[in-house]
Amino acid sequence: MITLEHVSKTFTSHGQTVTAVDDVSLEVGEGELHVLIGPSGSGKTTTMRMINCLETPTGGRITVDGRDVQTMNVVDLRRGIGYVIQQGGLFPHFTVADNVAVVPRLLGWPRQKRRQRAEELLALVGLPPELFADRYPRQLSGGQQQRVGVARALAADPPIVLMDEPFGAVDPITRKQLQRELRRIQAEVRKTIVFVTHDIAEAFLLGDRIVLMAEGRIVQNATPADLLRNPADPFVTSFIGEDRGLRSLRFTSLAELAGPAPPGARPNGMILPGTLSILDAGRELAAHRDAAGDGIWVGDTTGQPIGYLTFQQFATVLGESLGDDAETPHDETAHAIHH
């Protein structure tokens, strides 16, 4: 578990004091994935980097499992925290297996155990070890390199993983694939993850909570469903709506997505017409921020309920579809629902 208490970070640049992070408090529970999102310069990356002491806070306190990180030995602290960055940062002179096993090597594991662990993890991230273990990073595609980056972060089985826009530099199709893979892996390994991105679709798809930041402050910290239903202010609404991928949601209707209603449940709260597009449904939800229940009832033209969609499903669908022009929204959403 990670806690940030009133954490600030200021630095001086050309004689001027700049506040990168301003009084941020945050609690990331065990096994949760929190997404830090915001425009560039919002302080999201700095906030994350203070957790493993790559940056030093100028105010406040950060604890990992109750221990103040400032009082810990940085090298030991970092070896216990997985770290994935956007550009991969793989060692070009190490084979893929050796790259994965960097932290085990630093921890002094015997060679054979390192190799075995590396192969396990390569299999986990979808790179068959017999094909990839002995290659060099330059022989891999960008997406494959990022997979190795994720495997490397998990190598010593750290309880915490920090990810700094890990899929930011790969093409949209690969990115979507990697996001789904990460969700599958996270379901399996249940790490405490702090994930930095500026991609709202990614945030919806992956986050247990989304922490929206701007100008060094937290604007809203909510579950994806809550963020959709109760955006804190116009900035949040505009940030969610900014993504041009939203356009594709105009062409998917609620009726296409809705599953059967839970047996025995009766419609409470609002019923949205099934012909409504996902985009309009999102707007409708945002407008009725105190909608009851944990989902949306979908009705036919006469208002008779024909299906049901949980907010969580709805958020996932949004995440799957946003920013994804490469595949049709229909395929995307079908995929989301069936999983």
């Binding site: 493993n52 070896r79 002179h93 630093l106 060099y136 490397r152």
Partner: protein, 219 residues
């Protein structure tokens, strides 16, 4: 010209013992100066890459040092170190430090910041970062510096003859003094051949020394 070359081959054959002695001295001067130069330059390069404040003065010093003619270094050192093998080695070592230092510093500084960030984030200590990441990644550039220093010092070592340091320069000086082209060539041609052999040989060695994952990047 061809007559002179043929005559110089004859000269070498007739003075085999002396020629081999001079060749050995020449190689000793070159190899020792480069090895000592490496031992001095690499730690300096590491220090310069670590301590921002020292980087500039050290690079300036290196750049200035590179521009002082070797002959002048020999002359300047004459009152301090006298004549012979040691002062020659000293002057050549100074010249070997410069390219290795500059390449080492630039090579270490050129390490991809993302790789350094990842390494730090995973918990490498300072020494581990240097030995596991920075030096291996800089090795092609450092190796290029060693190659430059070696080839350069094979040529410069001929100047050792001016202060009695020995080497193939002896033959060149002798040839010049006696206006004897075959003797001059008996010194000059082997020096040129040595430089070519060193260039090719070190190129081979580089393929062995530089980590496999970096090989294509160096060609």
């Amino acid at each position: 010209m061809f007559d002179d070359l043929a005559a110089s081959v004859t000269f070498i054959q007739e003075n085999q013992e002396r020629f081999l002695e001079l060749l050995t001295e020449h190689l000793q001067l070159t190899i020792l100066s480069v090895v000592i130069g490496l031992l001095i330059a690499l730690p300096l390069a590491v220090i310069a890459s670590r301590i921002e404040l020292l980087a500039k003065p050290l690079t300036w010093l290196a750049a200035i040092g590179q521009t002082i003619p070797s002959l002048a270094i020999l002359g300047l050192m004459l009152p301090l170190l006298g004549t012979g093998f040691v002062p020659s080695l000293f002057a050549l070592t100074i010249r070997a430090i410069l390219p290795i230092f500059l390449n080492g510093y630039v090579g270490i500084r050129a390490t991809d910041p993302a790789i350094v960030d990842a390494a730090r984030g995973m918990g490498t200590g300072n020494a581990q970062l240097l030995l596991m990441v920075e030096l291996p990644l800089a090795s092609p550039v450092i190796f290029a510096g060693i190659k430059t220093a070696t080839v350069q010092n094979i040529g410069l070592a001929t100047l050792a003859a001016f202060i009695g340091g020995g080497g193939l320069g002896d033959l060149i000086l002798q040839g010049l003094a006696m206006v004897d082209a075959p003797v001059l060539l008996a010194g000059a041609v082997p020096v040129a051949l040595l430089a070519i052999v060193a260039e090719l040989g070190l190129g081979r060695l580089q393929r062995v020394v530089v980590p496999a994952g970096l090989q294509s990047a160096t060609q």
